[in-house]
């Protein structure tokens, strides 16, 4: 049996849905790729932004620790007053002040005074009052713990300790 295929009628092609399907598929593919790319891009940006913030904070902490310096200029053992100045480049906050005999070990950070900010300026002189005094024979060590003022977090003492530095002064 011979099958006869009749030619399409002249002047008009028969309409099929095959092309539509391919186009749709291409569009969908393109949209999917773009969506995926944008999502990936957004994810990357978020990650980079987060990493950047974290790095900024870490570098800020490290740099700040190098920029601070507190000097104990004088101390009065009679009135438990300590005179300090800050020749560093960042403001510092004093967390702890203790006066103990030199023969004894350091008591460490005691959080025994109201935190006092000392502005970064060698001209300015600040007084720290109410230092905790330990009994014993002279000479004494005046010990101040301080940290960069902008890193201080009142609710996170453990974190503060990580950024704290110490200044000591021998008083006879």
């Amino acid at each position: 049996m011979n099958a006869t295929i009749s030619p399409p009628p002249k002047g008009r092609r028969p309409r099929t849905s095959r092309g539509d399907t391919i186009l749709l598929a291409e569009i969908l593919l393109f949209a999917g790729v773009v969506t995926l790319g944008v999502a990936l891009w957004a994810l990357s940006l978020g990650y980079v932004s987060s990493q950047g913030t974290q790095m900024s904070r870490e570098y800020d902490r490290m740099i700040s620790q190098h920029r601070i310096l507190l000097v104990i200029e004088a101390a009065s053992l009679q009135s438990n007053i300590v005179w300090v100045s800050n020749p560093g480049m960042n403001d510092v906050i004093v967390l702890s002040c203790t006066i103990y005999p030199k023969t004894q070990p350091s008591p460490g950070i005691r959080y025994n005074i109201e935190p006092t900010v000392v502005a970064a300026s060698p001209e300015r002189l600040e007084t720290i009052q109410g230092c905790e005094r330990y009994p014993g024979e002279p000479p004494y060590i005046v010990e101040l713990w301080y940290m960069p003022a902008h890193l201080y977090n009142r609710t996170d003492p453990a974190r503060n300790v990580m950024s704290a530095q110490v200044a000591r002064y021998e008083a006879r």
Binding site: G37, S44, V48, G52, S56, Y59, A74, P87
Partner: protein
């Protein structure tokens, strides 16, 4: 193609900026570390010597000054931000404030001097000065003793010497010094009793610069110009540090040599043929104005013997050397042999010392002191068995 484009976009918009940001942060941190290292090296290089000077300028009317000398021995410029005066005993700042708050720049190799006595007004105790530099270093002076706001080691930097020549034995001499104006001296008076005629003394007094009136009193009375050879006035005026001594030369006290009393201390009797000893003692009257050195040889040569003694057996040993006024001393201890008697009758020996013109010599004056004469007789008894 789109995926590649997006991947490239992500790479250039996230990873590259992240890398650049990290690199910038690291550079920043590295710069900070370098800056800190440089600052620490600068701080460690700072070297400041602090010395304390006490100067006394009473004539200028400026009063006593205490000055702090800051010497920069480092190759860096040092800015001293503050200077504290610390009470070492109390371990507290004097006045509870910095002594000097004005910044002071000290160039490398230079020194600068600051007046600081205003921080020590009426302060007594040990003080220490601490200089705080702009870089945060503390430099301290050695503690110094301050008395009444003045530097103790510089209280009396000069010495005034007062000499008195030819004092009269037994008299009391008082030197009184009256400081004029801001001048000061310690002690202000000294009394000395002369123990010999024409004695000389020199005494030193710690003094500040300034003018002083020096008085010399004899037995509580001011010595008049008639008794003084020099200076022309009493009190004498002297100004330190231009002149640093005053010499009072008194008219020399005349010394009259006194006669030395000679006495022979011998046994009243001796046996014939036996050796015996006798002493020659000298006494100098208390009126003598000086010590006398005994002339042993002259005394020994003036001994004359007669009677029953063996010739050539006299020998003497000198003992005492110096006679002080009013004292008695044994000048010679002599030995002599009594001669054998020719019968049973007792004999005698007579020892005589003639008066001398030079029994001794005055230690201060060099004058010869005469002596009187003395004589004694010794009975020589015969031996029984004869």
């Amino acid at each position: 193609m789109v995926g590649v484009a997006i991947a490239i976009a992500i790479f250039f918009t996230t990873l590259v900026p992240l890398y650049l940001y990290m690199s910038t942060l690291h550079n920043l941190y590295s710069n900070e570390l370098n800056y800190r290292r440089i600052r620490d090296i600068d701080r460690a290089t700072e070297s400041l010597e602090i010395a304390i000077e006490g100067t006394v300028i009473p004539l200028s009317g400026m009063g006593n000054q205490i000055r702090l000398v800051l010497k920069n021995t480092s190759p860096l410029m040092i800015r001293v931000q503050r200077i504290w005066a610390m009470d070492v005993e109390e371990a507290a700042p004097i006045g509870n404030d910095p002594c000097i708050q004005t910044p002071i720049d000290v160039s490398p190799g230079w020194n600068t001097s600051l007046r600081i006595d205003q921080c020590l007004t009426n302060f007594t105790g040990r003080a220490q000065f601490i200089a705080v530099t702009e870089r945060g270093r503390l430099f301290a002076s050695t503690p110094v003793l301050i008395v009444g706001g003045r530097l103790a080691s510089g209280l009396y930097p000069y010495t005034l010497t007062v000499s008195v020549i030819n004092m009269k034995r037994g008299d009391e001499y008082t030197i009184l010094i009256s400081p004029q104006g801001d001048a000061d001296i310690q002690p202000r008076s000294i009394t000395y009793k002369a123990t010999a005629s024409n004695e000389n003394i020199s005494l030193s007094f710690g003094a500040t610069a300034g003018t002083f009136l020096v008085y010399l009193l004899e037995n509580g009375e001011l010595i008049g110009p008639g008794r003084l050879i020099a200076p022309s006035t009493n009190p004498a005026e002297v100004t330190l540090p231009d002149y640093w001594n005053v010499v009072f030369i008194l008219a020399r006290t005349e010394i009259n040599p006194q006669t030395i009393d000679i006495e022979i201390m011998a046994p009243s009797r001796v046996l014939e043929g036996e050796s015996f000893s006798f002493d020659i003692t000298l006494s100098l009257p208390a009126q003598a104005g000086e010590n006398v050195r005994i002339n042993h040889m002259a005394i020994q040569n003036s001994i004359t013997l007669s009677g029953d003694y063996e010739p050539g057996t006299l020998y003497c040993i000198p003992l005492g050397d110096i006679l002080t006024p009013g004292s008695t001393t044994i000048a010679l201890r002599c030995n002599l042999n009594a001669a054998d008697l020719r019968g049973n009758n007792p004999g005698s020996i007579t020892i005589t010392i003639h008066a001398l013109s030079n029994a001794g010599t005055g230690q201060d004056s060099g004058l010869a002191y005469p002596s009187d004469s003395d004589s004694t007789s010794i009975t020589v008894r015969p031996q029984r068995q004869r």
